[in-house]
Structure formats: structure tokens, C-alpha cells
């Protein structure tokens, strides 16, 4: 069990000066005077305390592509980025479509002990889009899977999607849809627009995302299920989700940091670090995503952290893999694009990066209030620690970040998982207790 800690002069949610005393992995008091004499003191002056961040959309690549990332390296990167929990997507080799694979991922996450690793289960066997996987077995396994996704591929068959939405009601699960109409995006390389036309790269039109989202919110309404939209990227998608919510449909949506900051103009140098799926869109889409996040249409920010080895990125655009890493830069980008612009408060950041993702994923021990008696899953943010992103300096196994050279205004300086400082002072400490609650 973790040693006692007292964090002094910190600002809870950026608006409430307080101390935090942690004993036995729990917040025992908000007054420093209550700390045990042997408690380690951390000076929280100038820091913002948030509930530990939760990423609903991470690719840890293990099992299968340990050359790109492992559960250990991905966990380190997550802890350094301020995360206490990540949801590991199912597109591994083998696919996370059985109880055996999801239990393997969860148990490896516990061994590493830096973040709680919640495996996402595949909706269909092998992500092949034709047969439902045994979601019940995964839900009832020790991994307790609640989020199911074929991410990387769209569950495009409407009947199969309907069945999946209905089926997961059995165990209060949710389908997280990768919204990409496959026929409309055959061979696509980047956002379809003026830049793709100029660069001669096959387009990925916004309508290919929007048409699937429109279909799926209507299906969710029809069968009375909840549906989660992964990596929403277009202005039209924001409009559709806004409409669906107004109608009372149980839809949640996530935006990615890169879609809040970068546009398709980045593709002009054909540098595959900017190749991602869904692709970087236009400034109009970026603005709509920020507005959607501000007004609550978009519920959360997730990373879509997608590591790839150099050989899959140091090549011609058409041959390169889709995806970019993002665990360590997500918080800084949210601050840059949403907090420093006055669109969101730190209390809102707690909601979009911790409370709501934990709620969507049914992660009971995460996204909890910073209050006495709650598990000490805490992220300390220094909003004044401006830094320049250096992809080579990441703790991820891969360095395919598109943000190299960009200055971010702040970063996570300490992360506590049930009281253990998993990341502080550039050092990692593993939690050694049992299973995540």
C-alpha cells in the first residue's frame, strides 16, 4: 500500500485552494494539518489538481505489435501524460475478441501497475464485420469489459450494428463506433477537399463519417441503446450529434487533440506523421469541434494514441500507416485550444478528460470527485509549465508525433494511481496492489 502523501497549496479543479492528504490510497483529508507525520510533502503551489485522466481510446499494440508499443511503454507514456486509466483498443494480433485476450491485456496492465488498463472488446470476430464476438464472455471475464469497438474498422453492416447495440444492453455495455463508410473511403489518404485535390491524394470525404453517425444515432434511438462515437472529426458530425442529443438519443462523442489543433494543410509536405484516420480536416471543422466541446455536444477528449515504428512512417505518404501518438500531449493541447482560449475551465477539463470518459466506460473507481473518502486517482497539472514537444523524448516505444516543435502551455507534473505517484519528477513508480477496482 502506498506511503502517505500530502499535497499542499494546490488548487482543486483550478478554482478551490486546498491541500490533499492521501493515506492508504484514499483521499483522507483536505487539510494538511491532518497528514501523518511521516507523510511525503509535495508543494502544490501553482498547480491544478484534477481527478486522474481517463483515455477512452488508446492503442497499446500488445499483443502482436510490440515493436510499436507494449503495455509497459504505453502505460509509462500514459502516466507521464497525466492518465490513471486507459482503454486499450481491440485491434491487436490476436484481436481482443475473446475473454482470453482481454484478460491477458488486463493482467499485463496490472503487472505494469502504472495505469489501469481497461481492454476494449471487439464487436465482431477478428474485426471482420460479419459475426458478433462473444461480448458476453468478455463482459463477464475478469477484465469486466464494458466498451466494445472494432476501431480501425467501421461496423458498417447496419443489421449487425443494430444487433450489437441491442446485445450489449445485457451487461450495460456500449458500442464505440469508428464511423467510416468503407465504400466511400476506398483507398483514401487524407481529407477530401481542396488540399487533397492539389496534392493528388485520394480523398476521405466528411460525408463518409457523417452518414454512419446519422445512421447509428437513429439505430440507437430505435433500439433504446447508448452509442459512443469515436474520433468525431467534422463540422457536420457535430451538427448531427447535437441534433441527436436534443432528441434525447443516448449518444456520446469524443474528439481527438490533433483534430482540435491541426488541419489538412499539414499534409502539404507529404510527411506521413500527419497521416491519421480519420484525417486532419479543415479549419472550419476544427472550429466546429472546439465549439462542440465547449457546448457539451462533444462529451470527451480521447487520444487515439496510435504508435507506429519508424519504418511505417519514414516513407512515402501512400505507403505509410495511419495514426499518431498522443498520450503525453493531450492535456497540453486541451489547455492550449480550450482553456487558454477561455472556452473551458479546468473543472470542464476534469469532466471531459476524466469524469465523463470514466462514466462512458463504466470505470467505477475513476473520474471520482476530489473529496474525502474517494480513491486517490489524481493528476497535478502545471498550467504554466510551457514546453516544446520533442517526439524523440517520449516514453512511448514509438515517436510518431505530429506535434514536434509545437509549444504547449502546460503539462501534467504528477500522476497518482490509488495514492501511488506513478509519475512524478520524471520518475515512474508502479502500483503493487491487486486488481483495479
Amino acid at each position: 500500500m502506498s506511503a502517505p502523501i500530502v499535497i499542499t497549496h494546490v488548487s482543486l479543479y483550478g478554482d478551490t485552494p486546498s491541500d490533499i492528504v492521501i493515506v492508504d490510497g484514499t483521499i483522507s483529508s483536505l487539510t494538511a494539518a491532518d497528514a501523518p507525520a511521516e507523510a511525503r510533502t509535495i508543494d502544490g503551489t501553482g498547480l491544478v489538481a484534477l481527478p486522474g485522466l481517463v483515455d477512452l481510446h488508446t492503442h497499446l499494440r500488445e499483443p502482436g505489435r510490440e515493436d510499436a508499443e507494449t503495455i509497459e511503454t504505453g502505460s509509462r507514456s500514459a502516466a507521464r501524460g497525466g492518465f490513471t486509466a486507459v482503454h486499450a483498443m481491440a485491434n491487436t494480433t490476436p484481436t481482443a475478441d475473446t475473454a482470453g485476450v482481454v484478460e491477458l491485456v488486463a493482467s499485463r496492465g496490472r503487472e505494469v501497475g502504472l495505469v489501469d488498463v481497461y481492454p476494449v472488446g471487439a464487436v465482431t470476430v477478428g474485426l471482420n464485420g460479419t459475426q458478433l464476438s462473444e461480448m458476453g464472455a468478455m463482459a463477464n471475464s475478469r477484465a469486466q469489459v464494458r466498451v466494445f469497438s472494432d476501431d480501425g474498422k467501421c461496423v458498417h453492416d447496419p443489421l449487425l450494428m443494430r444487433r450489437a447495440l441491442e446485445y450489449v444492453k445485457t451487461f450495460d455495455g456500449v458500442i464505440a463506433q469508428h464511423a467510416q463508410e468503407p465504400r466511400l473511403t476506398e483507398g483514401s489518404q487524407m481529407h477530401e477537399g481542396l488540399v487533397s485535390a492539389e496534392l493528388g491524394l485520394a480523398g476521405w470525404p466528411a460525408v463518409a463519417e457523417e452518414s454512419i453517425i446519422a445512421r447509428d444515432v437513429l439505430l440507437a434511438e430505435h433500439v433504446g441503446s447508448r452509442v459512443h462515437i469515436c474520433h468525431l472529426s467534422t463540422a457536420g458530425s457535430v451538427d448531427i450529434v447535437r441534433w441527436a442529443k436534443a432528441r434525447g438519443i443516448q449518444v456520446t462523442a469524443e474528439a481527438m487533440p490533433h483534430h482540435l489543433l491541426l488541419t489538412d494543410e499539414s499534409a502539404r509536405g507529404y510527411d506521413p506523421r500527419f497521416k491519421v484516420n480519420p484525417p486532419l480536416r479543415t479549419q472550419e471543422d476544427v472550429d466546429a469541434l472546439r465549439a462542440g466541446l465547449e457546448d457539451g455536444t462533444i462529451d470527451i477528449v480521447a487520444t487515439d494514441h496510435a504508435p507506429h515504428p519508424d519504418e511505417d512512417k519514414d516513407c512515402e505518404w501512400g505507403a505509410a500507416a495511419f495514426g499518431m501518438i498522443g498520450l503525453e500531449t493531450a492535456l497540453g493541447i486541451v489547455q492550449k485550444t480550450m482553456v487558454d482560449t477561455g472556452r473551458l475551465t479546468w473543472r470542464d477539463v476534469a469532466r471531459i478528460l476524466s469524469e465523463t470518459p470514466a462514466s462512458i466506460g463504466r470505470d467505477e473507481a475513476h473520474g471520482r470527485p476530489l473529496a474525502v473518502g474517494e480513491p486517490a486517482n489524481i493528476t497535478l497539472v502545471d498550467p504554466a509549465a510551457a514546453w516544446t514537444v520533442d517526439p524523440a523524448g517520449t516514453d512511448s516505444r514509438s515517436n510518431n508525433s505530429p506535434f514536434g516543435g509545437i509549444e504547449l502551455p502546460g503539462r501534467a507534473v504528477a500522476t497518482f494511481l490509488r495514492g501511488t505517484p506513478t509519475y512524478i519528477d520524471d520518475r515512474f513508480t508502479a502500483l503493487t496492489e491487486g486488481a483495479p477496482a
Binding site: E186, D314, E316, G318
Partner: protein, 327 residues
């Protein structure tokens, strides 16, 4: 000029310099001994990741007539077909002492990537010989050279040095969406002062071109002939297999394409008497162009091929001799 990657960023001065230099190169090709000593001792590598015998032999002829050593490196029968990456190929060429790399690649942007990724160090020049559906600058330059020679001189053979294509109206007909030839031509024609008319089914137009004020777009060839007095018409090759296969056809049938977009005698006769016909080859006779049109006195299609050698000589010469346009 260090590299020739596309026409969008080519200044008018540089474009005219290439065309003027090509004129001098063409003149040397009338002589009994056509070989020039200019690039003796320099090595030009033709790096072809896609089959293109015509373009490759044109570049090969150009380099050899400038006395350069030529190495042909093509996808078949080499490491390229064994999955060697563009990066490793670049490192190999660097190590072999290439001075210029002429690259044809299936991926849009491959030439730019080769030039700018840092894989090639030092002074290797990259010439884009066609990258995916992006650019094919020497094709556009040879087309411009051909049009300038025919349409900008009072009498054929008069000097056209220093001139652009100001005041001309040029139609480009066919699969503009996938055509790197069209991509390069549209940009270069505008740089040189010509008015560009694009004729294609809406399914084969690049995103946003209709709303681009600088280009006049028509959905049938008859509409374009009605609306414009063309000085030149450029017929693009239709790739049959791509066009109508597998339910993803861009038009219903080759017959319908020919009906709406094919250049036949009747349509040819509606053009002004001086108008010329271009085609980048290879042609589908009877599909995008009838034999009557292809073989008519207006056709400059065979001349395009010989002009291609002169233009590529000029490009190699300018890149490797380091001569700059006075900007």
C-alpha cells in the same frame, strides 16, 4: 532550380527559361551529330516504380544526348519488386554517386518526399517523372513547348523565345481527377497566361475545381466547343479498366464516354482552323479520340514525343548545371 517536382510552384521565369532552353536543345537535334558533351561525367538515374516505357526512354535519350551516364533502375527484376523501400533505394543511389534522379512512382508526393526527406544528402537533383495522381511536370512543359511553337509564332519556326502562352484558350478533356498530366498542365497553363477549359464528367473532376474561378468547367465536349474558340485541345487517356469495373465506374460505359467526350471529325471541325490537338499518349483510338482526329494535320501528337526529349534535355541541363533564372 535544384529539383523539378511539379508545376504549381514553378515561376513564369523558370518555366520560360526551360522552354527557351528546350528550343536550343531542339535545334541541336537537327544537326548530324546530335550528342552534346554538356553532362559528361554526370550520372542520371532513372528510378521507375511504375511501368512507363515511353517516359523512361524519353528521359534516357535526353540524358544520353547530353553525354550523361544513365542507370536504369526499374521495378521489375530489381530490389524494388522485393519490397525495398523508397528510402533504402535513395540511400543506394546516393552511395552510387547519382547526380540526378528521375523518379516515377505510384504514390503522390513520392518525388517531393525523395527531395525533402533528408534521405538524399548533398546535391542530388530530383526530377519528377510522374507521382501517383499528382504531377508530371515535364509532360506539361513539353505540351507548353509544343503549343508555344505552333500558336505563339506568326510563322511556324519563328523564334518564340521569352514568350508564354498568353491569350490562348486550351481545353483539357477527360479524367482530370486521376491525371497527373492534367494536374501539371492546369497549373502551368495558368502560369503562362493561357485560359484553361476543363471538360469532364462530374465524377472525374477534382474536388473544388468547379468553384475555382480560374478554370472554366464543362460537362460535355459539345458545350465546351459551343462556349469557347479553342486554340488547343488536349485529350487525356481513358483507363478502361479503372473506369467501368466493379460497380465503382466513373461513367456507365466506354460508348457513352465516346458519345459525350470523344473527339471525332465533327467536333474537330467545330474548332477554329488553327487549333491543334494534343494527347500525352498512349491513345485509345476510338475511345477518347477517333483515328480521323489523331491522324489529322491538326494533330501534333507525334511531335509531342520528340519535343519531350528536348524539354527533358533542358530540364536535366538546367538542374545539373545549376543555372538560375534571373528572378
Amino acid at each position: 532550380m535544384k529539383h523539378l517536382l511539379g508545376t504549381q510552384n514553378l515561376s513564369r521565369e523558370d518555366a520560360v527559361l526551360i522552354l527557351d532552353t528546350a528550343g536550343q536543345m531542339a535545334a541541336t537535334q537537327e544537326r548530324e551529330i546530335r550528342k552534346l558533351p554538356t553532362l559528361r561525367g554526370r550520372t542520371v538515374v532513372n528510378l521507375f516504380f511504375e511501368d512507363s516505357t515511353r517516359t523512361r526512354i524519353s528521359f534516357e535519350a535526353a540524358a544520353k544526348r547530353l553525354s550523361a551516364d544513365v542507370i536504369n533502375f526499374s521495378a521489375k527484376g530489381s530490389s524494388l519488386s522485393k519490397g525495398e523501400s523508397l528510402k533504402d533505394t535513395a540511400l543506394t543511389l546516393q552511395a552510387m554517386g547519382a547526380d540526378a534522379v528521375v523518379v516515377r512512382h505510384w504514390a503522390s508526393g513520392a518525388a517531393q518526399r525523395l527531395a525533402e526527406s533528408g534521405w538524399l544528402h548533398g546535391s542530388v537533383s530530383v526530377l519528377n517523372a510522374g507521382d501517383g495522381t499528382h504531377q508530371h511536370p515535364t509532360q506539361a512543359l513539353l505540351d507548353a513547348f509544343t503549343m508555344r511553337r505552333h500558336l505563339m509564332a506568326t510563322n511556324l519556326g519563328d523564334s518564340v523565345d521569352g514568350k508564354g502562352l498568353d491569350g490562348l484558350t486550351v481545353a483539357i478533356v477527360g479524367d482530370v481527377l486521376h491525371s497527373r498530366v492534367a494536374g501539371s498542365n492546369i497549373a502551368l497553363l495558368r502560369t503562362l497566361g493561357a485560359k484553361v477549359v476543363v471538360v469532364a464528367p462530374p465524377t472525374l473532376l477534382p474536388y473544388g475545381l468547379e468553384r475555382d474561378g480560374g478554370v472554366s468547367v464543362h460537362f460535355t465536349l459539345d458545350d465546351a466547343l459551343e462556349a469557347h474558340d479553342l486554340d488547343a485541345i488536349m485529350m487525356l487517356r481513358v483507363q478502361r479498366e479503372r473506369m467501368t469495373g466493379g460497380g465503382s465506374g466513373f461513367f456507365p460505359s466506354p460508348e457513352e464516354y465516346t458519345r459525350l467526350f470523344g473527339l471525332d471529325r465533327a467536333r474537330m471541325d467545330r474548332m477554329p482552323g488553327h487549333a491543334i490537338i494534343l494527347h500525352p499518349g498512349p491513345m485509345n483510338r476510338g475511345l477518347e479520340i477517333s483515328a480521323e482526329a489523331a491522324d489529322s494535320p491538326r494533330s501534333v501528337i507525334v511531335e509531342q514525343v520528340s519535343n519531350g526529349v528536348a524539354v527533358r534535355m533542358a530540364a536535366l541541363y538546367l538542374l545539373l548545371s545549376g543555372e538560375e533564372a534571373s528572378a
